[in-house]
Symmetry: C2
Amino acid sequence: MIRLKMGITQRKEREKEEMRQLILDAALRLFRERGYDGVSLRNIAEAIEYSPGTIYLYYRDKSEIFFALQFEAAAVKRDHLLSVANIKDPWERLVEFGRRYIDFGMRHPDLYDLLFITRAPMESVENQECWQLGLATHSFFVDTVQACVDQRYFKSTDTETIAYTLWCHAHGLVSLFVRERMRMYPEEKRIELAQKSFALVVKMAETL
Amino acid sequence: MIRLKMGITQRKEREKEEMRQLILDAALRLFRERGYDGVSLRNIAEAIEYSPGTIYLYYRDKSEIFFALQFEAAAVKRDHLLSVANIKDPWERLVEFGRRYIDFGMRHPDLYDLLFITRAPMESVENQECWQLGLATHSFFVDTVQACVDQRYFKSTDTETIAYTLWCHAHGLVSLFVRERMRMYPEEKRIELAQKSFALVVKMAETL
DNA sequence: TTGACAATTGAACAGTGTTCAGTATATTTG
DNA sequence: CAAATATACTGAACACTGTTCAATTGTCAA
């Protein structure tokens, strides 16, 4: 009897989770197409064939949907980046990390936007977890730079500044792409330019 | 008689221009405080003590107000940057240009945002002029890099990639600031870090 | 003063995020 | 099984949004 009850509770739990994911999937698809402000809750509701009010039974408000997506994005990014952890040589690890950072931004411009560009209130529990994820990835990055410094890969020993500078370049590169500020370069040359720029920074960093 | 009429026409013209500027000033102040989406036309109307409908006699829609501000921002930026044109030595000119680019972003985060980050429909006549302004500034930048290349300031001779790489760094640096993605660094260290990073890039570029 | 023109208004429209009383369904209890 | 309870869901309603437009006010020439 209590066993039965438990089973039902579990099922309900599962269904609740499925519904949350259903909303999230629809929201991501719509946000991708039309941006955060271009999508209304009624649009999302219509997409999943429920009434607008229903969504509020699963998310407190619209921004919470956004935060949930941001959290997912942070997880995807972490998995995309931390897979370089097995590379022993810190310099190679760093280069590959950079390559993957840019690759992540290019492959998932919407997620990158969510994480690093979009303005959004930075409260919410969901978002603190997201912040933790991001911080972990950042720490991994800084640690890798530190390892390079320890092994005298650079002339400079200012780990913090080196790490920050590399991040600035990668973030600048990706966000100019994501927010379409490269119109002065012909479409087909943009990717090539980005690759050349990355290569140049790698070369520069070698003689840092 | 016709003279008088002309005078009146001129005054009307002037008043119209004043009204446009009044709207723009109020809009900029509000956008600064609450962002583009956080401000309604009724807010702007209230701020200038006119009815909502009045604004549509001076700007076709809300986005045109935005574009007008973007155009102003582009002009401010151009003036801020092109004042280095009188520096003869291309390398010194380039370094000062970079310093001022970052300085512009830090001093006018809202304008920088308008120009390089905010997503907005890129049509409108107003905006094409704005684009012209931006392109001119960019050309000046590339020309300066080219001058450095010509005088063998760098090892590399790929002007385009060098220019783009420097821009990536500066843009990344500013936009991480503007969109508040530097929370992992304590508030008081951020400016210092930015300065150190700029200095590092200058040093790196010397051995490019 | 009157007629024409320009500037301004504010109500109206369709949309937004959000709330909540009511309904329908599912589960537990007697 | 039937009744009572708990849960899921609805859709109308609220105050807001950008935008339009008939009606009103104010200004100026004849």
